[in-house]
Subunit: 118 residues, 2 copies
């Protein structure tokens, strides 16, 4: 076989409910990662594309956060309702889902307007 | 700021000691990921390169496993003794550490000679 053609990392990090940076998986479950995994399996894609659990991706204020490699596309505020669209439009057709995509200027910054305490 | 230039995912998955596929983190700790994180911090690289905890990367028989994106370079059998070499040679000089690199033919395969039960 060969390496994955695309590799998704879905943050499943959980912080206390009152943590300043929020939490990608506030309920402590991995429901979003499981939804990606199930949808990939239904499409027969699990050998080509992997939906991986990830520790903190450090973009917490935009969570739940997903990054797709090798594309280097970052998504924020992802819910299970977005899973099919990300797979069918981005992963299969090469067209990232713009409404969920994080701008490069919003990544790894202390000054992003979406960060409430910046 | 901008997205990470390189993003390492270090498997911290733990299975029971007698599990057929082995375990990337048999002692249940994240020592390897912490060693990468510390070494990156010492070199002032944490804004450019992130060492991320990851769930199971599904290459368990070659563990402890690390994958570097967007390069798409996979490493197997990585220990804390290899951390400086991976950072200084691969990440900073663009020269992957061949002795630790997993061949594409060893990834996602049932027939790899390194897999004892194949």
């Amino acid at each position: 076989m060969a390496p994955f053609e695309q590799h998704l990392f879905i943050c499943t990090n959980q912080r206390p409910a009152d943590h300043a940076r929020g939490s990608c998986a506030p309920d402590g479950d991995d429901g979003l990662q499981k939804a990606f995994k199930k949808a990939l399996a239904e499409r027969g894609l699990t050998r080509r594309i992997r939906a991986n659990k990830s520790g903190c991706l450090d973009q917490c204020e935009h969570g739940p956060t997903v990054v797709v490699y090798p594309d280097g596309v970052w998504y924020g505020g992802v819910t299970t309702a977005d899973v099919a669209e990300i797979i069918d439009r981005h992963l299969l057709q090469g067209d990232p889902v713009a409404r969920l995509q994080l701008a490069p200027s919003c990544i790894n910054t202390a000054s992003c307007p979406h960060k409430p305490r910046s």
